[in-house]
Amino acid sequence: MRRWTAFWAIIVKDLRAYYLKPPNISWGIIFPLAWTGMFFIRSGSGLDSILNLLPGVMTISILFGTTSMLSVTITFERRNSSFDRLLLAPISLELLMLAKTSGAILFGIVNAFVPVIIAAFLADLSGILWYLLIPAIILIGIASTFLGLFIAVSVSEVFEAQTFSNFFRFPMIFLCGLFFPIMSLPIFVRWLSFVFPVTYGVDILHGAVTGDHLMNYALSFSLLGVFCIGLFLLSLRNIRQRWIA
């Protein structure tokens, strides 16, 4: 019971101190809006293209929302030593890091639904397979957050975290099938797509929204799960090695 009091307190503190701040709320709304608008205009195929764009825009909203916030909630707190206060608390490192990342996961999931709400006014969403879409969004949120965590614990400064994040984020936009089908990529870079967890999540989203998907859903969900666990364990190992040195 005591440990869950601490767990909940960390989530609430992060939400109040970081996520529910006006700049982050506006980021969560403006960013997906901008991406949707950009690809909508670029496609030039009218409102019919909305459903094709939706999986990519949802994913990009999650990816940028989660990874950006973790560089603040983790790297910044580590930089000003307030993270030590959490390390001194009598809760396990696993639970502590789950609490620290839960806010980002929730932020990512909420961000993902901003383009869905916009799309609801512009297109018919009745054909969407929600039972696939919702778990896929949650898993993409978790995987992106843990990717952000892995980056945040590998560096010392906030600007390093942001730079290092871009090293992953921007290639993912082009390589993971967000807006360009993986099969249309040059064959020598196609293998790279399958290194990133987002590829599997986007494929499920495409399947849920348009019915087109490359891989078996069960395989995609399983691989996303493996990436989540792997990234979390790697991050914990880095914290133990680098921060409790």
């Binding site: 009091t5 307190a9 503190k13 109040r16 101190a17 030593s81 030590d84 608390a89």
Partner: protein, 331 residues
């Protein structure tokens, strides 16, 4: 003053920590008894904070064992974290939260329920004189207020063992006095306090036992009264002279064999005796020899003199790069 029992609050044995080629803490062993106020005294970089970090689970040990409250924490540093409170050497609360919210959050980390944590937060804000600033964000606090709130955050879960890392460094005289008073009160209430400081006078006033740590090694550990024994009843005179001072120690000793002379600091001669030191003949002799005496000051021998003797360091070395807020503090 003494409220400690014979039972150990925590023991460390052979504690060692290396950072690359540098051995920050080198095979130290000691025991702190329950209810004891134990001082860990040393200059900057001596290994005080590294020792606390190892004791509280913020740093891994390279060698040695730690036992806190009967729990072996060597391989599982988290095992005894519920027993300890830590006040770090730098204020590390959350700038975006108010003073009240910071304290409530710190209490929640120890599983304290909402009603109880709010009650304790209000009590501590009152104790530290911060009630009026309870609703202000931490980032707007002055340095002294930040240190006091950080102290309050370290004790909000009422830990039986408290680690204080330089709690009065860099704060104003009034805040330092208040912090020292609270330390003394906690000690009276039975809390085991492990205090690291480079303020010798602070350690002398507050601590029951003191360890001197230099370059990662404990060079002396004893009860404060035992440490002070060699200088008790001694008279001391400090003469500030125009040249090095060291050159004249030998000739003065032959002229005044019943006094002891030395020169630890450049330009200063220290005269010690069991009897009263008569200043006139000393100064006259020196001036006859062309040595200009610019100041003659009687000095109450203190722990500082013992520290200088034991460690070979000048007391001034302790204040390097730090402010010194001591100013008639009370307990």
């Amino acid at each position: 003053m003494t409220t400690s029992t014979g039972t150990a609050a925590f023991t460390v044995s052979g504690l060692t920590k290396r950072f690359g080629d540098v051995t920050a803490v080198n095979d130290i062993s000691f025991e702190v008894k329950q209810g004891e106020l134990f001082g860990f005294l040393g200059p900057n970089g001596a290994g005080k904070t590294t020792t606390i970090n190892m004791l509280t689970g913020l740093a891994r040990l390279d060698a040695g064992t730690i036992n806190i409250g009967g729990i072996n924490c060597t391989s599982n540093p988290k095992a005894a974290q519920h027993l300890v409170g830590v006040v770090p050497d730098e204020s590390n609360l959350y700038p975006e939260l108010t003073g009240f919210d910071n304290l409530c959050f710190c209490a929640a980390l120890y599983g304290i329920r909402k009603g109880e944590r709010e009650k304790r937060a209000r009590q501590l804000l009152d104790t530290f004189g911060l009630s009026d600033a309870a609703g202000r964000k931490f980032q707007g606090y002055s340095k002294g207020m930040k240190r006091k709130l950080t102290f309050a955050a370290g004790i909000i879960h009422q830990p039986p063992i408290l680690f204080l890392d330089e709690p009065t460094t860099g704060i104003d005289v009034a805040s330092a006095r208040q912090v020292r008073q609270i330390m003394a009160d906690l000690h009276k209430q039975g809390t085991t306090v492990f205090l690291t400081t480079h303020y010798i006078e602070e350690a002398e006033r507050l601590c029951e036992r003191i360890a001197f740590i230099v370059n990662g090694k404990i060079v002396r550990i004893d009860r404060t009264e035992n440490l002070l024994k060699p200088v008790q009843g001694k008279n001391m005179l400090l003469l500030t002279v125009s040249d090095s001072g060291e050159d004249h120690v030998g000739s003065l000793a032959s002229e005044f064999p019943y006094y002891t002379f030395d020169s630890i600091i450049e330009g200063q001669i220290r005269v010690q005796s069991e009897d009263t030191i008569v200043i006139g003949p000393l100064v006259r002799l020196m001036e006859d020899r062309g040595i200009q005496v610019t100041e003659a000051r009687r000095h109450r021998p203190s722990l500082e003199d013992i520290f200088v003797e034991v460690t070979g360091l000048e007391a001034g070395f302790m204040q390097k790069d730090k402010e010194r807020p001591m100013g008639g503090g009370n307990r």
